[in-house]
Symmetry: C2
DNA sequence: ATGCGGGTTAAACGACCGTTTGAAACAGTC
DNA sequence: GACTGTTTCAAACGGTCGTTTAACCCGCAT
């Protein structure tokens, strides 16, 4: 019974330190000392530093992605959306679970995941593509379906910007409160959700309209289309 | 004469490694070896690892911020903007110099600066607030002036989201190209500029309109106002 | 030639890192 | 109470890190 207790204590501290200082700067000695566990126990329970980081990440990533997919299927099944609001709903299904997690478990879990985007160890990158890849693909197609006639590439760009605004909010909101120097009050989770969703949804819609008119993008898009159809013709490119 | 040559070689390598692996994972041995310089020369020329990172950052930050301010004063002085386009212009003045730097000097300088946002050593945070603080304040007020009647806090939120989308693009565009899995073609600098500016400008405008209607934000805003006036009454709070 | 100061170099120092080891403490079972 | 498997513990190992030291090289004014 005590085994799982120490496991969780170690995971909690690892999550905190991963969010605060990142993977490279997190020392197992600091983790185990704060968790009141022995140094060797992290190797015993997780197999090493990599395993610990992976376990700490998975503990948070999986519920968030599950809720994302659940919300997305929910809004897709009700189906009789008045059209224009769908983009906003998709965006909210994507960012909502993250902000919900931040509201109920504190900012550390989100800071950890956001920071791992930036870290270099290759196993972290592999984890992200493995666990976020399918979810991102579902949301990209959902964004495309919500804006008929828009190429899938534009949907990926929208999602990219949404992720950027979201992770930046998770990680660096405090820096901006510093920069603003009392001009911005610390915000509630609801307020952040509202602001982030409003910004991203409108940005995404306008991005699609704008992209259709811009020559630099239009030419790139035809190139993309040609390439993608080429790929469809020849079964596998690489 | 050889002194400045080694200085620059070390700075170039430091910039590359800071952008690739971050501050904590960058070892001076790797820097000096790649720069064909001696290990001790870092301490001789820059006083230590901190000094090296600071010098590498300043070499890129200062021109970018200078060009930002120059573009902003340029569009403010011409003044007879048709109103609606001003937000877009301000956003472009903010993100344009960064994308311009990326286009002419490669992605590493921007990756370095973006990554330093996430790193933990306190001197880096101090540098960012010192050098970006005044610039951010000018752009926040410019955004507010471009949208009359909007509280300054909303302008700060807009700027926050813009920075998020921009830095995420500088750092993690490759990850998204991976996730998209051939559905998105690698983009030119012009295309990225267009997409980013379109997304951010429209997001900012819609954010302002939306924020005015949302109860969660409206209440928070009145609270902000009350707090700020309180602060104005009592000279210094802390 | 001589002295000198800026710049380079190899070697070493102490600190901290992740990991391993082997013994000790503990649980539950016969 | 002895045995077995699991979990904890202190100690040590090899390695890398940032920094320091002291000797050395070289152009240049004296």
């Amino acid at each position: 019974m005590s085994a799982e207790a120490t496991r969780n204590a170690i995971l909690d501290e690892a999550e905190r330190l991963l969010g605060e200082v990142g993977y490279a700067a997190m020392s197992l000695r600091a983790v185990t000392q704060a968790a009141k566990a022995n140094l060797a126990s992290v190797n015993y329970h997780f197999g090493g530093k990599d395993g610990l980081a992976k376990a700490a990440m998975l503990r948070r990533i999986e519920p968030v992605n599950a809720e994302r997919l659940a919300r997305l299927t929910a809004i897709e099944s009700k189906r009789r959306a008045p059209g224009g609001a769908a983009v906003r709903e998709v965006v909210e299904a994507f960012v909502g679970p993250v902000l919900h997690l931040a509201a109920e478990s504190g900012p550390m879990p989100c800071a950890m995941v956001g920071r791992m985007l930036t870290e270099e160890p290759p196993f972290l990158r592999a984890m992200l593509t493995e666990h976020f890849g399918p979810v991102a693909k579902r949301f990209a197609t959902a964004l495309q379906r919500a804006q008929p006639g828009m190429p899938i590439a534009d949907a990926w760009w929208q999602l990219h910007f949404v992720v950027g605004a979201m992770t930046h909010t998770m990680l660096h909101l405090d820096l901006f409160l510093d920069l603003a120097d009392k001009a911005v009050a610390p915000a509630s989770a609801d307020e952040i959700t509202e602001r982030l969703a409003a910004f991203c949804a409108a940005g995404a819609r306008a991005h699609a309209k704008h992209a259709a008119r811009m020559p630099a993008i239009a030419t790139a898009r035809t190139a993309t289309k040609r390439r993608s159809t080429t790929n469809a013709a020849k079964p596998t490119r690489r």
